[in-house]
C-alpha cells in the first residue's frame, strides 16, 4: 500500500487516445456492423441484464468501507479524474476563465492537490479555455454533435466537432442519436459515431449514451457495445441534462460491457460517469465499482472520468477535513 498521500498523488498521465484507426482486434466481430441486420442481431444477442440483480450488486459495492488513509488516496484519485464542467446557456468567457482558474488551482491554500483531468465546455468557448489553460496539463474537452439532444443534421454535428477540435479541444464528448437507437436504426448510430471519430482527428472521443433516455439496462449495454465497436475511446453515461443521469447501476452495466469488450478485442475503453455525482462519498462509490469490475488498470484518469461541476469542492472539503481533522465548510473552498 502506498504511503499517505501527503506527498501528493503522482501526476496523472495525459489521456491516451488509441491511434486513429486502431480498433483493437475484433476477430469475428470485424464485420458485425456491415449492415443494420447484422448489427441488430449482434446487439440483441448480448446477454440481458436483470435489473434487480444488477441494482443489488451496485448497492453491495456501495457499502465497501473507504476511510482514513484509503479515503485520502481515493479522494486524490477522484480529483485527478474530474472533468470540471460548465454546460449552461448562460456560460460566458468570464465564467469559463474562472472555471479554468479553478482547474489550475483547485485549492489556493493547499499546494499538493492533484490537478483535474480536463475542463469541459461548449464548442464556442473552447478557444477561451485553451487560452486560459495554456501551458498546463489540464485538457480541454468540448461537447459536440448538437449536445445535449443530438437532434441536428449530420453535417452540422460534424462541423460542430471539427470547429471544436480546430479551436484546440483535445477531447470531444459527442451524444448518440437516441431517436435512431430507439427506432432500431443501429447502423445509423454506428455510422454517425464513425464519422465523428474521423472528424475528431487526433482528439479523444467520448460517446455519451444518455442512459436516462435509453431507460432499460439492456439498451445501455447495447449502446455501450455499439459505441465501442464504432471506435469510442470512452463511453459516457449521460449529458447531465435529463432527469436520470449516472447511477451506480447504469454505470456498472457500462463497466461490465467495457470488461467484456476488452476480453474480446484487447482494447481498453474508458468510462465517464457524469451528472448527479455531487459528493466525495458518491465519487468513491464509483471508484469501488471500477475497482471491482475492471480492476486497477482502469483506476486512472486515462480510463475513468467523473463529469461534474460541484463535486470538486466537496472532494476538496473532505480532503481538508482528513488533513486537519476539522470540516471547514463551503466558505473555505473557492466557488468559480
Amino acid at each position: 500500500m502506498p504511503g499517505p498521500a501527503g506527498s501528493a498523488a503522482s501526476p496523472p498521465a495525459p489521456a491516451d487516445p488509441a491511434a486513429p484507426g486502431d480498433l483493437g482486434d475484433l476477430g469475428d466481430l470485424a464485420d458485425v456492423a456491415s449492415s443494420n441486420a447484422t448489427l441488430r442481431r449482434f446487439l440483441h444477442g448480448l446477454p440481458g441484464v436483470d435489473a434487480v440483480g444488477l441494482e443489488a450488486r451496485a448497492q453491495v459495492l456501495g457499502s465497501r468501507s473507504v476511510k482514513t488513509t484509503s479515503k485520502r488516496l481515493a479522494i486524490d484519485l477522484a480529483i485527478s479524474m474530474v472533468d470540471l464542467t460548465s454546460l449552461e446557456g448562460a456560460d460566458t468567457p468570464g465564467r469559463v476563465r474562472s472555471l479554468c482558474g479553478k482547474a489550475l488551482v483547485p485549492d489556493p491554500g493547499v499546494r499538493d492537490v492533484p490537478r483535474v483531468a480536463a475542463v469541459c465546455v461548449y464548442p464556442d468557448l473552447v478557444g477561451v479555455a485553451v487560452e486560459a489553460l495554456a501551458g498546463s496539463e489540464v485538457a480541454v474537452a468540448s461537447v459536440a454533435t448538437a449536445f445535449p439532444s443530438g437532434r441536428g443534421p449530420l453535417e452540422a454535428k460534424l462541423a460542430d466537432t471539427r470547429l471544436a477540435v480546430a479551436a484546440g479541444a483535445a477531447e470531444i464528448d459527442m451524444v448518440i442519436d437516441r431517436g435512431a437507437f430507439l427506432a432500431g436504426d443501429y447502423r445509423r448510430v454506428f455510422e454517425e459515431i464513425v464519422a465523428v471519430r474521423e472528424a475528431c482527428g487526433g482528439a479523444h472521443l467520448k460517446v455519451i449514451l444518455e442512459n436516462g433516455e435509453l431507460v432499460t439496462y439492456d439498451n445501455v449495454r447495447r449502446a455501450s457495445w455499439l459505441a465501442m465497436l464504432a471506435g469510442a475511446d470512452f463511453v459516457k453515461t449521460s449529458t447531465g441534462k435529463v432527469a436520470v443521469n449516472a447511477t451506480p447501476a447504469n454505470t456498472l452495466v457500462m463497466l461490465q460491457a467495457v470488461r467484456d469488450f476488452f476480453r474480446l478485442s484487447g482494447r481498453r475503453v474508458g468510462v465517464k460517469a457524469a451528472g448527479g455525482i455531487r459528493t466525495a462519498k458518491d465519487a468513491i462509490r464509483y471508484l469501488v465499482l471500477v475497482n471491482e469490475t475492471l480492476g486497477e488498470e482502469w483506476l486512472t484518469p486515462r480510463r475513468f472520468r467523473l463529469g461534474a461541476s460541484s463535486l470538486l469542492n466537496d472532494l476538496l472539503m473532505q480532503r481538508h477535513k482528513l488533513a486537519t481533522g476539522a470540516y471547514g465548510g463551503p466558505d473555505y473552498v473557492t466557488v468559480d
Binding site: G53, R57, S70, L287
Partner: protein
Amino acid sequence: MLLEYAAAPESRAIVDIAPSYGLFIGGQWRPAAAGAAFKTVNPASEEVLSEVAQGGPADVDAAVAAARAALPAWSGLPGAERAKYLFRLARLLQEHARELAVLESLDNGKPIRESRDVDLPLAAAHFFYYAGWADKLAYAGFGPSPRPVGVAGQIIPWNFPLLMLAWKIAPALACGNTVVLKPAETTPLTALRFAEICQEAGLPAGVVNIVTGDGSTGAALVAHAGVDKVAFTGSTQVGREIARQLAGTGRRLTLELGGKGANIVFEDAALDQAVEGVVNGIFFNQGHVCCAGSRLLVQESVADELLAALRERMATLRVGDPLDKNTDIGAINSAAQLARIEELAGAGEAEGAQRWAPECELPGRGYWFAPTVFTNVSGSHRIAREEIFGPVLSVLTFRTPQEAVVKANNTPYGLSAGIWTEKGSRMLWMAQRLRAGVIWSNTFNKFDPTSPFGGYQESGFGREGGRHGLEPYLDV
C-alpha cells in the same frame, strides 16, 4: 493497491457476553441439574466466548413441565393479546439488532454484512408477520377456531441461529403453543440473549424455554413424551432418527433437512447477474445454507464463458474477519464442519473432478476454507450427491431443458433450485417440473416470512413461513 479498503470492524463493545450461562426454564435462569457445561468459541479466532450449561434429561423434563404449565394461560389469551407480545419481541429484536448481529457473527463466524442485513431484519420480520396472524387464525383456512397443538420441542441448527429461532418460535407462539427450544451446540449465544429479551418483553414465564446442549440434549427433548410436536432443522441423518423415534407415537413432526440445490443457468440468462446469483447461492453464509445452490448446472453453450466470469468474480471475494463490513466470506462454523468440508473436497479431487480456488490469504487462527469450485464433475461423484455445507460449488453441464430437469431432480434431496433465463415461458416450464420446495428465478437465497419454505424427499416435510407455516402448530 490504488484503492485499498479500510478495515471497518464492527465494535465488539456493544455485546456483553457473560462468562457463563445457565438454562432458561420457566422464566428463570438455572444451572444444569447435572452441573455440566460446555464452551462456545469464536470460530474466527478459536477464542472461548463463554461457558454454557449442558442440559440433560432432568433439565429437559423441567423445561417441558414449565412449558406445559404455561400452556393453558397462553393459549387462553385472546389472539390480539398474544400478538402484542410478538410485536413487542419483534420491536425488541430491532432495537437490539446491532448487538445481536455482532453477537451472531462472533459466535457463528458469518460476515457482519450478512448478520446485519439478512439475519436480523428477517428474524424481526418473522415475528412481525406471525404477530399479525395471532388474532386472525380463524381466517387462515384451518377451521373457525383452530386450537394450538400444545408444547412444541424445537431444535435448530447453527447456520442461522437467531433466524431459525424466529422461524420456529414466532408461528408457535402466534398459534398459542408454548415452546422448549434447543439451540445448536456451537451457536447458543443469540438464543440466550433472546431469552433475556423475552424477559424484557414481559413474556409470561414458561412460554419460551431455552435449553442449551449437544445432540444428547436434543435427543432427550425429542424423546420426551410431554412434547406434542417436534420441529427440527438440521441434518438428514438426525432427521431420520427423529422420524423413526416419533413414528407411531401420534406426536407431530416437521423436518427441514439437507439439500443439494441446483442452480440452473441457461444460455439466454443475464450472465453477469447469473454469476452474482451463483456466487450468492453457494458462498452466502460460507455455504452453510441448507438451500444453497451447491450444484451449478450450466448450459454447455455458455459454460466456458460463465465459468471464466465466475472465476474472475470469485477472485474478488474477500475472506476474513467476520466483523469487518468489507468481508464477503467469514469463518467456517466449527473444526468438525471444516474437517467434513475438507474431506469431501478431497474426495472430489480423488474422484477426478478439477478443483479451483482463487488465491486468498486465510487467517492463521480459526476455521477457514477458501471459496472453491469443482469442474468436470459427473453425477456419480460424491461432491455432486452429498451435501457439503461449505463454500464448495460443483459444476455440471447440460444441453437441453429436459436434461436440466433430469439432472436437477437426480438427487435424494429436494429443497431448492434456481433458474436463470430471460425467457418467462421456459422459467415456468422448468418450475413445474423441478422437485424442490423453493424455486427461485433470476435470484437465489431470497427469504421472506410470507413465503412458505420446506422440502421434498430427504429434505424433509412441513412448511415454515407464510400461512402454510401455521398448520404445523395448529391442531388440524
